[in-house]
Symmetry: C2
Subunit: 420 residues, 2 copies
């Protein structure tokens, strides 16, 4: 039996989940893995006398974990960037292993951290063992594309908007009341959290640096129930996806609302669930879904990483390709099919004007919805699904469309999921 | 860099997939895992001069692999039971590690094999790293239920029956023509292959012996497009599932056609895909899907196991619970909701007779479909969805129903997926 002494930094939901899980399933974990996990110290600024520390010592200074020579593995669950990074760097320098659930610190500072003794399964997609899948279960595969629903808040809100036909603001208020969204929801609904996770997946799947600032990011604030309903009519569900694709021209790394065809399993991942789909040369298309957040679910991934730390103390660190060889492509370069909702005056000839502009940019139309005019306004939506076209071309077409006198407002543009 | 010398027994589709994958992705595998895989000998009764052996020696006797002292890992891909078992036993006795894709030999003879150096990820659900998930990614979890689409042939056939409304025999002929079903389809369509895989999942998830003969098995031969269509009307898709559930009374282990609600991700796993859903105490409900068969997809799992053999040479072998503590429950003991299609004469009072029999066995009705009578026959289907009831009670009720003069044929009974 290998024995690991761990020190936990933080005493929030996830840390409490780890303490509870290690206590509840100790025998099971030992039996399955041959690894015994002992929590020797917990450190948190805030004392929480109601939490059972399972006999561990307690400190209010997380740096005490570095000083405790018994600690083999530091489990960083304090969140944030500055102190967390300081703790991780200190631990790695001392030769301690580190397990963290902190996506921001890895996505933003991962390049400065030695990765041989650092694990962060819990930072991406909660309970889903996606990093293990990439590094072990699918180890023999070259990956060509990954895509994922990696923010449960967005997915909950989109599912609710679809099921109930209510708008963004109403659902946001409810998500906040239910604890699925923060008081300041920016991180989730503007796609930053998803971009952090996508940055991590990109580094692992395509062996790049952590390049958060090269990920294209769009959130879900602009989406309306009418778009969700038009998309359904066309055979799609709108999901907030992180998308990675590799080609000889470089890597696409983008987070945005996406039309996913009903025929894809990803379209049926609803509510707070997360899912990651991996396209690879031997294994083909695999998909992994599960809870992306929550104390117990995240703790499941943290404890799995702790056990792996004992089984495989030294991770091989890939010789990373130079960034020149693996350029992240600007969004203007990508090709995609697009959903366009164009609000127009209900007048003869408008449809011809619209299609003429698209045609002049070599944008082909795949499907169209044109509804009867709103009785009150004399305004009508033209909804178009295009074939694949380059984003730069689409941007030019949109500028011209929005300059038309008969187009009454901004065009809603949503990318369609690539066919991988 | 750890180096492993492997010997491959067999030269069929999967073996060729392994050779091709190791050759194509050698550098990638080394970079990610720190493990170098060298094929030193391939043994197969049939010489296939068209296959590139990547410089490996060739034998026509698979037992030559035991005699080759260079071989660290024997990869058993010959299938069947007798010779495969002999080879595996011999290898383990010599201290060689074994990787196999052979579900039958593990499900039927696994109890006689030492498991410390034996791996069989490829034996269950092809490319999906489900065994790794159970043993590593979800290592901290107590599992309460697993269910899965673990036979791609059945899933292909059911999807095609639904999409095209054609019957079992027509789809079977096409599946055979496409190579999705064998000339003798018994193994797949009667559920035996799925039961082998479920036996393996049961042993791993619930720490039992391999108890193939205790798994309840029903295939898909009796299913008709009309049942698929009624199920859809009730909000369900019919899938051929393997189901495991643990309770204080023992383990349920059963393979049969199952109504899965459209709200479940599992209902949307279509075509030849496989999927396994795991319900556990910390991670909640996770689902893993992907190709369940095929040379390259299976090779992905085989090579992953080879790499794990280098990383973790000795697997901890659980002290298995006594079979008394983990009884597999007989099918008569389980509780389930049921779909019943009862062919009846189109006469007044028939529905009352039917419901009276169900009621006399305390079987409550959840939903009913009663269609207009067929113009030609004067016969009508009564379709009933029941609430949970014990299988033994249901059997009694079915006997009485089928004895009614107004019931014109056997009652079709399909279990509904448990709500886990």
């Amino acid at each position: 039996m290998k024995t690991l002494s761990i020190g936990i930094a933080g005493l929030g939901t996830v840390a409490q989940g780890v303490l509870a899980l290690v206590a509840a399933n100790r025998a099971l974990i030992e039996q399955r893995s041959g690894v015994s996990v002992n929590v020797v110290r917990v450190a948190s600024r805030r004392v929480k006398p109601e939490v059972d520390l399972c006999g561990a010592d307690f400190s209010t200074d997380v740096m005490d974990l570095l000083a405790d020579s018994r600690v083999d593995v530091i489990v960083e669950l304090i969140g944030g960037e500055t102190l967390a990074k300081e703790l991780i760097v200190g631990a790695l320098e001392q030769g301690k292993a580190v397990v963290t659930a902190n996506k921001a610190v890895i996505a933003l500072h991962g390049n400065e951290l030695s990765r041989q003794r650092l694990r962060f399964e819990a930072a991406v997609a909660g309970a889903i063992p996606i990093i293990q899948a990439l590094q072990h279960g699918l180890v023999a595969n070259q990956f060509s594309a990954l895509s994922g629903i990696i923010n449960g808040t967005c997915n909950y809100m989109l599912s609710a908007m679809e099921n109930e036909g209510v708008d963004f603001d109403a659902i946001l208020a409810r998500a906040q009341a239910l604890g699925y969204a923060e008081a300041d929801p920016t991180f989730d609904v503007d796609g930053i959290d998803a971009a952090h996770k996508l940055t991590i997946l990109m580094a692992l799947a395509f062996d790049t640096d952590f390049e958060f600032d090269k990920v294209y990011v769009e959130g879900i604030r602009a989406l309306t129930p009418i778009d969700i309903s038009y998309a359904a009519e066309l055979g799609y569900r709108i999901k907030h996806l992180g998308i990675l694709r590799s080609s000889p021209d470089g890597i696409e790394a983008r987070v945005h609302p996406t039309l996913v065809p009903h025929s894809e399993l990803m379209a049926h991942v609803n509510g707070v669930l997360n899912a990651v789909q991996v396209v690879s040369d031997a294994a083909g298309k695999t998909l992994f879904s599960g809870p992306g957040a929550g104390g117990a679910a995240t703790a499941s991934a943290v404890v799995a990483d702790i056990v792996e730390t004992a089984l495989n103390p030294q991770q091989p660190i890939a010789d990373r390709n130079s960034s020149a060889a693996m350029t992240v492509r600007p969004i203007e370069d990508i090709s995609s099919a697009y959903y366009l909702r164009i609000p127009t005056r209900d007048e003869p000839g408008v449809f011809a004007e619209v299609t003429q502009i698209l045609s002049s940019h070599n944008i082909n139309i795949d499907a169209v919805i044109q509804k009867d005019s709103h009785p009150q306004g004399g305004s009508v939506d033209i909804v178009i699904l295009t074939e694949d076209t380059q984003e730069a071309q689409m941007n030019k077409a949109l500028s011209q469309l929005e300059a038309l006198a008969t187009v009454t407002g901004p065009v809603m543009r949503i990318r369609v999921a690539p066919q991988d």
